[in-house]
Subunit: 557 residues, 2 copies
């Protein structure tokens, strides 16, 4: 690659463009920003996780100089244990909390020995190949988050995602505005930044406003308080602890990821509690209900997380009862609305009072709203901007917003890539120059990649009208039917009530096989299969207006 340009591309996002992994190339040097997982979209049936597609990097792993991790959320670090080996174990740079969480994952996958981790401070400056990297602190919904300024020989690239201008963050570390202003003085070539909240006017409220809402709940709740949030939202957990301490409650942390991340955050000092505030589940019995606060996972209605289990009376140690106050300290991620809604209904049914929704003040976003996005552009005035971590409509609205900021920008300066768009930049030049095929890698159960888009498409078809299998045995020599046809269906029609339809289907198959035998004496099971599929599909559509998957299985005996 020419050394006049840098090349930039997004590898993965699943509906939220570029959300999970970025590649920055200069000459023979590659820097990767983040390495996260995506959560499957609603029609990716049965898929547990989606990984970025690293195909573009497969023949270039020797050039990868570093993976720079911004913060400890799954969509930014979750793919590390799945992909680090295929990427050739390049060094992972991240702050203490971020790498603390990564370490736990690598350990689980027995990869900790092979990985090379470089802990940086939130103001660290370090060299990666011919580029100088400057980390700077940002406020988000997890502590110890950073952005990166990368001074390449071609120009300064700023990668800044999942941030807001919180001037009163819970951890006391706001987004470093002075650093951003300094970057601005250096005339950055490129800003790569998140635009997911561009639809929201104004300014995202500070995380500490949630603490005020917690206080007013903790002040009056008659029994236990059960607060569900993201395990990684350490600031939220911190505020629950502080409200509990203010109102004389003990705090129980429940849920695997809640316990894991809180332990790491406590060790590193990002989470603070007075001695004896935190107790174990089995110690709850020693305190009256109005001295208990349970902080747990499950705010997204995830079926296996604590809050869903509580709502389904499926938790071993904790049963919801009248007098409990449940606080859902999160808003549903798009696609989760229905499952969250079911959990809330069930909690009410079990007698709890449930506090939820934006108006209750128990959640704020970790992302910048319109005025913050504008402020960033005014501070940095980069030559080019790549808005990402949003859908296409967010990118379009971001471009509109940028065009309104003090006349700095022309439409050509705001590039709107898709996953796989290859962009090249040099001073005065920024373009999408190519598109590399970027798909998804599905993780289902323990296997990575053997569930692909063909399999998912089959699941979509199966979910719609089910499947109908036709089994028959024919004599190899004569093509004569010796057993069957049997017809079995799942997800198509209730078989006990549809014996007529099934018998008619068998009849249609028998007819078609007889016709075949008339014109053709040689057996040809591929032909027979195709023929059965065709006549059965047509027949069933005509009778029911449904199109089940038809699968003929003809055996030769």
């Amino acid at each position: 690659m020419s050394k006049d340009n840098i090349r930039v591309l997004a590898l993965g996002g699943a509906g939220s463009i570029g959300r999970n992994m970025w590649v920055l190339e200069y000459g023979n040097e590659i820097i990767i920003f983040d390495c996260g997982i995506m959560f499957p979209e609603a029609d990716m049936f049965g898929v547990d996780l989606v990984l970025p597609d690293i195909n573009y990097l497969r023949d270039k792993t020797d050039r990868i100089k570093a993976i720079l991790l911004t913060h400890g959320h799954e969509d930014h670090i979750g793919a590390v244990p799945h992909l680090i080996s295929d990427l050739g174990f390049p060094p992972l740079y991240g702050t203490g909390l971020t790498l603390g969480i990564v370490k736990g994952k690598l350990k689980e996958h027995h990869l900790l020995d092979k990985a090379s981790l470089v802990t940086i401070s939130d103001h660290e400056t370090f060299q990666v190949g011919s580029s100088t990297v400057e980390a700077f602190p940002i406020a988000h919904s997890i502590p110890d988050a950073v952005g990166f300024g990368v001074t390449t020989p071609v120009g300064l690239v700023i990668y800044l995602t999942d941030w807001k201008f919180d001037h009163t963050p819970v951890d006391g570390v706001p987004t470093d505005i002075a650093k951003l202003a300094e970057f601005g003085e250096r005339k950055p070539l490129l800003l790569i930044t998140d635009c997911v909240r561009v639809e929201t006017p104004g300014h995202t409220p500070s995380e500490t406003t949630v603490g005020e809402a917690f206080d007013s709940i903790f002040a009056v709740a008659p029994g236990r308080i059960i607060m569900a949030t993201f395990a990684s939202n350490v600031g939220r957990v911190q505020q629950a602890i502080e409200s509990a301490e203010a109102y004389d409650r003990k705090v129980v942390l429940v849920g695997r990821s809640m316990e894991n991340i809180s332990r790491i955050a406590l060790d590193l000092g990002w989470l603070r509690a007075q001695e004896r505030t935190l107790i174990r589940v089995h110690e709850m019995g020693q305190y009256p209900d109005d001295q208990i606060a349970i902080v747990c996972t499950g705010s997204q209605g995830e079926p296996m997380a604590v809050l869903s289990r509580l709502a389904n009376r499926d938790h071993t140690h904790i049963k919801i009862k009248s007098g409990d106050t449940v606080v859902v300290s999160a808003t549903p991620i798009p696609g989760n609305e229905i499952s969250v809604s079911r959990v809330i209904n069930n909690l009410f049914r079990l007698g709890a009072d449930v506090i939820y929704g934006g108006r209750a003040g128990v959640h704020v976003s970790g992302h910048a709203a319109q005025e913050e996005l504008k402020m960033l552009l005014a501070l940095l005035r980069p030559q080019f901007v790549v808005p990402f971590h949003g859908e296409y409509r967010h990118q379009i609205l971001y471009r509109k917003l940028a065009l309104g900021v003090g006349g700095f920008f022309t439409p050509e300066q705001i590039l709107l890539p898709e996953d796989g768009s290859v962009m090249e930049f040099r001073p005065g030049y920024g373009r999408i120059v190519d598109k590399t095929p970027v798909g998804y890698i599905y993780v289902d159960g323990t296997s990575v990649g053997d569930v692909n888009k063909v399999v998912v498409r089959d699941r979509q078809m199966l979910s719609k009208d089910g499947i109908l299998m036709v089994v028959a045995s024919i004599e190899r020599a004569t093509g004569q039917l010796v057993a069957g046809p049997d017809v079995v269906s799942r997800g198509f029609a209730y078989m006990r009530q549809n014996s007529d339809l099934l018998e008619a289907t068998r009849e249609v198959i028998r007819d078609s096989l007889t016709q075949r035998n008339g014109s053709q004496t040689q057996t040809d099971s591929a032909f027979v299969n195709r023929k059965i599929k065709e006549v059965v599909s047509d027949f069933l559509y005509q009778k029911t207006r449904r199109r089940p998957m038809v699968l003929p299985l003809v055996m030769e005996v």
Copy 2:
């Protein structure tokens, strides 16, 4: 049934309790309120419509004196053509527009001759058996909507759903507050009312505020305007027509239901347009783009509706292009967020400007918010209230809200039924006394009821991990394997890349069949099937942590 009480129950709602159909019984007389369809929930795979379960009424059809229809929305009238025959064709009472829409449906189902329709005015008083029914006009998102006051020998029952206090409705007919005050004077026994918007503080804005937003869009749009809304929202269509007329645009109505309902509304005078405002699709070419407004269906991202087709470049006559302004004049119904979002992204991709979302002012709800719900209670002061058309959490919040209204109510006066809860009322007495089983009737394709919960559960299983079929032929006499085992899967794993796994699965089956033959010489295909299912399921779970449906098909030859 005793003549001291009335009995009330909800037959259907699918997640939104009682939304679609209510039964009021006095002695041997039954009055039905509404007869609507539900839209399937996200996990009711492949189901097109859900009908209320009328099992409770099957042996009582001779007692049904009337079906009183409140308004022309699908969730209140859509089940009429599917159920009217099973209900024994009782007379259908409704206003002109409501019955106009019902007539179209009955005609399509070739039932118009058999049905008995009684058109009422929005202030009609009429006798049904021993009860007097008083209709009264209400403001909602479709014109000619009414509520009903039913004076039974036991007391006055008010059925009031899908309403708001719009003092400046587009059709000039507000909710009749004087009538409600008069009902209040008569000390109503029971109010059955919708609570779906109880989470929203304040007062729902008037429908006419949308016209103001339309005007400001129509004033500046550089090219065509394409406005999507519910076909039944005649007031919305009316306002688009008025804005078009104010800014010299022709209006094209596109989409089957949009054309149908608009034609009925035009005939009845609920929709008004100047001569030559409305043009046909094929006439659009005669006008410049900035003189065109297209009003169409598809605001919920429904795949076959006009807006989705436009977003997918799948409409024969209309292609989206740069300069088009698309207005999505609706908010996504819960569960439709993702599909609406995809449509918006694609419209932006095709170059359109898209105006959407609550903040743009292009949609308001047709349902009452908190202050209106309180106002209604203050006006009516009924002895008992049954809040419905919401999830359980809405009912709970409604009860909280009611308890705050001037000290009129105790918790016992606000009954929270589920679908199938049987309630009895008389002056001073109101209770849930019983529960009748109420399920769902699924409509899939042309068939009603043969897709039941077993079939839907199979579809859910199939969508998760797919299916794996095992086919084998054994000799009837000896139990000897003569062909197979063959293994075929769909939606489980990509077979071309998993020949090892499939071969190993075949091996496991062969082993298990051999073992069987050792201990047992007689063939028993049920036993063989069960055995195969068990060993294959265990084997695959152990290898992949996935649980496909395993379907053994053993043929005896």
